[in-house]
């Protein structure tokens, strides 16, 4: 018995995919931001090297869960802890969608300002500086309060609560999408106008624009749940935002239909630095996604062959 399984393992090691696995294409979802296109293409190319058939399907970030539940779609490579938690949990509850672990990428999201604001508001990046110079950030609509451009309401983030808890003289204005968010940043940066807004990383914006995240008191779960913890003893949310991993999720039937592929996807791991460098290549230097991914695979052969080896 033991010998049989040994032999099997040896066979699988040589041809990891082709054993008893389906030759149907594995459907990976594509969204509309370059980073996600890169991770997905990278995973897809690696799977192709392992002998799987792969198909890319364009899908909306949240709406895709409907497809993952029914098995119309199979793999989603980037579900951010920060923006996808709710949809992800709802999908896990049905049992038709499973978590394939972290991508290795860490999402950071926080208040962010361009470097030129440091002159007008000395004391940054410490958050207490914002107390003194809220006026610097004000616009006709919000005066005398400063204007903070938050993410879409659906992102959550508790910025309204944070402003209250920390006693900042800011008004929170919610952008509807992240395209609108960065459009405002681009415009303000061109004019060198004051702005403080929600920026997240990994993303091309912190690479393109010179600037920093505001340093709030560090996040802890207690700070969000217990008013007495933190700088303001009477309010919760008196700290920065949590940082969280970016997850890979899949249709529950994946491991059964393509066990080797499911393993390979679980093994997928990428660092923020590598990811950031690839996003910069694509979004700022105008290279194509396929070329960028191919270049990375050329330079990191050991890494990705490790994902598909047994």
């Amino acid at each position: 018995m033991k010998r049989v399984s040994l032999a099997l393992t040896a066979m699988l090691a040589v041809a990891p995919a082709l054993a008893a696995e389906s030759s149907d294409p594995i459907k990976l979802t594509l969204h509309d931001w370059s980073g996600q296109l890169i991770t997905t293409t990278l995973m897809g190319e690696v799977l192709k090297k392992a002998g799987y058939n792969v198909e890319y399907v364009q899908a909306d970030y949240i709406a895709q869960f409907a497809g993952l539940k029914t098995g119309d779609l199979h793999v989603a490579m980037e579900i951010w802890e920060t923006t996808g938690r709710e949809a992800m949990d709802a999908a896990f509850e049905t049992g038709d969608v499973v978590n394939l672990g972290e991508t290795g990428l860490q999402a950071i999201e926080e208040w962010w300002y361009p470097a030129y604001m440091k002159e007008r508001c000395p004391g940054l990046p410490n958050w207490e500086a914002l107390k003194e110079c809220a006026g610097e950030f004000s616009t006709p609509e919000t005066a005398p309060f400063g204007r903070y451009l938050g993410g879409p309401v659906t992102w959550g983030g508790f910025d309204d609560e944070r402003v209250e808890a920390l006693g900042l003289d800011f008004e929170v204005v919610h952008a509807g999408t992240d395209a609108a968010l960065f459009a405002e940043l681009e415009a303000a940066y061109q004019r060198q106008d004051p702005i403080v807004l929600w920026v997240y990383a990994p993303h091309w914006a912190p690479a393109k624009y010179d600037g920093e995240f505001v340093e709030f008191p560090p996040f802890s779960p207690e700070c969000y749940s217990d008013p007495s913890v933190g700088v303001n003893p009477d309010a919760a949310y008196d700290c920065g935002k949590p940082r969280g991993p970016i997850w890979k999720v899949s249709w529950a039937g994946l491991a059964e239909k393509w066990p080797g592929a499911a393993k390979a996807i679980e093994n997928f791991n990428l660092s923020n630095a590598d990811y950031g460098a690839m996003v910069t290549e694509v979004d700022l230097n105008g290279k194509s996604i396929d070329d960028t991914v191919a270049a990375w695979m050329e330079g990191n052969k050991d890494t990705w062959t490790g994902w598909i080896a047994k």
Partner: protein, 661 residues
């Protein structure tokens, strides 16, 4: 008699407005004085659990509903497969080529049509439909797609248009014919059509995805739902307006019911029916962006992806790609509508069918040549051009140099128009809002419409969406007001001077087919996130019908009446103000109606720049995949649209009676 009526009318409106204004301004004081919070906020415990009911129902429909032998989802999946098959073939023909197997083991059987072959085909269609001029026009449109490097995406979009439009047209035609034959069906289908046109697509996207599977088919289904209603309506109207003489001639010739329909009624209604076809094409292209969000890919996806990385030039180029495709398809379909029968040509097979012959030859030649010269098969990348840097620089220049001016204008408009109107609408206590809407509708259109309006508003209140509905009405109201103020003069100008008219109407076509996302991002860069940016986007989108109907209405004024005016010595100005405009009022109302409809349909898009209206509610529901919430909010939008539609139609009817048209 008239004077008294008018006076009482004025009195009615003045009193209604005054009461509303007082209640709106002092609603908060009233609440404090009577300690009755229900005045300003609809009590939670009276809210109907509609969202959950609808979600539960949809869950049941998707998971458990069955017709004994197969489930409901099997049925929808079968339909999906039926649509998918021809779509996949078209994709293979246009872009992917035919191959068997997947990945590394794939073997190509035949390549796709080369770009040259597609352009020659479309030019042949253009020439067949009208003349060389049209042929060159559509050829240039498609050449644009190749030169700007958008061929591949454009062909994917074309494939979905070529599937969605026939389904929309044939489906619409059949439904319309059935409604024409059966009175009860016409009554049944009218409100359904209203809903199909006014419920935002985002609201039913989630259920469609679950039922039809993820990918292009779901996008096609959503597109057809949105694009079909005009075809149904126009079919009904077209069949009803076929001249009696023709129908009688058909009867005399002894036509049976079926012959009557297909040999007499439908052929004589074709010019009007083609207007419907044209509408279906335009609406299908309007949906390209939203369809790309759920897996249709193509040009819409390029627009979204470009704007996500703030590549404004890329967004504009892809957006214009949609516009040129719309222009080509629109002009060709209109030419088909006007096309008169021609004599068949003499000679051999090739001489009798010169165009079909050429097309076959070109396809064959490029198929073979393409194997050796890749440039024949695929437009070479090296020859594509891009204007991206130009747009980004232009945007930057405007931003840096004119921002302060824009900011000043914006502040004035915000302070003197937007904020007071917003305060007025959001202050109205819900109970009075329902009564006032009912009274307005009753006064204009009779007790039936009044009751309907009050009931629909009650639905909105009981769903707990009153505040968001008021923000919606304020935003749309202000935008429609400004769009009308700009649009009607433009329309008058277009009607008075044919040369200006061509330019203006062409511009309106562009504005309507250019995806709003393309100008939304520059607008945000100049005006920041907020109501003002949303308002500008809505105005840009909703301007077209105001212009078009005004121009159309003025042109339709009977020449005899203009003659009479000229005879009695009217100046040009008097002619316009005293004769043309009053006679065009019914058309102006129709234009206003369409402006409002388009403004409401832009709502979901304005949510993307951060408004807090029903559009946002729909969008939130979509991002949370909450089908019930989306449908309730979508219905609320539709109900606002239906109330205004009924009121304005009643106004237009009243005006027509008065004018005796």
């Amino acid at each position: 008699m008239t004077a008294r009526l008018l006076r009482s009318g004025t009195l009615f409106w003045t009193v209604l407005f005054a009461v509303t204004w007082v209640l709106s301004s002092y609603s908060f004081q009233l609440y404090k004085a009577f300690d009755a919070r229900w005045i300003v906020r609809f009590p939670k415990k009276w809210q109907l659990p509609l969202e959950d009911r609808i979600s539960d129902f949809l869950d049941w429909l998707v998971e458990d509903a069955s017709f004994h032998f197969f489930s409901f989802r099997d049925l929808t999946r079968a339909i999906a497969a039926l649509i998918e098959a021809p779509y996949q073939v078209l994709r293979n023909v246009l872009i992917e080529g035919f191959s068997s197997g997947y990945g590394d083991t794939a073997v190509q059987i035949a390549p796709s049509l080369s770009w040259l072959a597609v352009i020659v085909t479309i030019m042949a269609v253009g020439h067949y439909a009208r003349d060389w001029f049209l042929s060159v026009l559509v050829g240039v449109c498609f050449l644009y797609l190749a030169v700007f490097g958008q061929w591949e995406s454009a062909m994917i979009t074309l494939a979905s248009v070529l599937i969605a439009v026939p389904i929309g047209v044939i489906g619409g035609l059949l439904l319309g014919i059935f409604a024409y034959r059966a009175r009860w069906f016409e009554r049944l289908i009218q409100p359904v059509l209203d809903l199909m046109q006014t419920v935002p697509v985002f609201a039913y996207l989630v259920p469609i995805l679950i039922l039809f599977g993820f990918g292009p088919v779901a996008a096609l289904v959503a597109t057809v739902i949105y694009a079909m209603p005009p075809m149904v309506r126009i079919t009904i109207v077209a069949l009803k307006t076929v001249p009696k003489e023709i129908v009688e001639a058909g009867m005399m010739a002894g036509c049976r019911k079926r012959q009557m329909m297909w040999k007499v009624l439908v052929p004589s209604a074709i010019p009007t029916l083609m207007v419907g076809v044209n509408q279906v094409i335009m609406l299908t292209l309007n949906m390209v962006i939203i369809a790309s969000m759920i897996g249709a890919g193509g040009l819409g996806f390029d627009v979204l992806a470009s704007l996500r990385r703030l590549d404004i030039g890329g967004g504009i180029e892809a957006g214009l790609g949609i516009v040129v495709m719309a222009i080509a398809l629109d002009r060709a379909s209109q030419a088909f509508a006007d096309r008169s029968a021609r004599h068949p040509l003499d000679g051999n097979l090739l001489q009798r069918h010169p165009w079909s012959g050429t097309v076959v030859l070109v396809i064959g030649a490029t198929l073979i040549l393409g194997q050796f010269v890749p440039a024949v098969q695929t437009y070479p990348d090296a020859l594509t051009i891009t204007t991206g840097p130009f747009w980004s620089d232009a945007m930057k220049w405007i931003n840096v140099n004119f921002f302060d001016t824009f900011e000043a204008i914006k502040t004035v408009i915000l302070q003197w128009l937007l904020l007071p109107v917003k305060k007025f609408f959001t202050g109205i206590p819900w109970a009075w809002g329902i009564i006032a809407t009912g009274l307005m509708a009753w006064r204009v259109g009779g007790w039936k419409i009044g009751l309907l309006a009050a009931l629909l508003m009650t639905f909105i209140a009981t769903s707990g969406l009153w505040p968001k509905a008021m923000v919606t009405i304020y935003l749309c109201g202000v935008s429609v007001l400004i769009a009308t103020l700009i649009g009607i003069p433009l329309g008058i100008w277009a009607a008075e001077s044919p040369r200006a008219g061509r330019v203006i109407l062409g511009l309106m076509d562009t504005l309507q087919t250019l995806p709003s996302f393309v100008y939304l991002i520059p607008v945000v860069m100049l005006f920041r996130v907020g109501d003002f940016s949303a308002m500008i986007a809505v105005i840009l989108y909703a301007l077209a019908p105001a212009v078009r109907y005004a121009a159309h209405g003025l042109k339709e004024v009977p020449p005899a009446l203009i003659e009479a005016g000229l005879m009695s010595g009217c100046t040009r100005r008097q002619l316009l103000m005293r004769i043309k405009l009053p006679l065009a009022t019914p058309q102006l109302y129709l234009g206003l109606n369409q402006t409002i409809m388009l403004a409401l349909s832009m709502l979901v898009i304005t949510a993307l720049v951060g408004t807090r209206d029903l559009g946002q509610e729909v969008y939130i529901a979509l991002t949370k995949a909450n089908a019930g919430q989306g449908i309730v909010a979508g219905l609320s939008v539709a109900f606002i649209a239906i109330i205004t539609d009924r009121i304005i139609n009643a106004l237009a009817a009243g005006q027509r009676d008065r004018l005796g048209i």
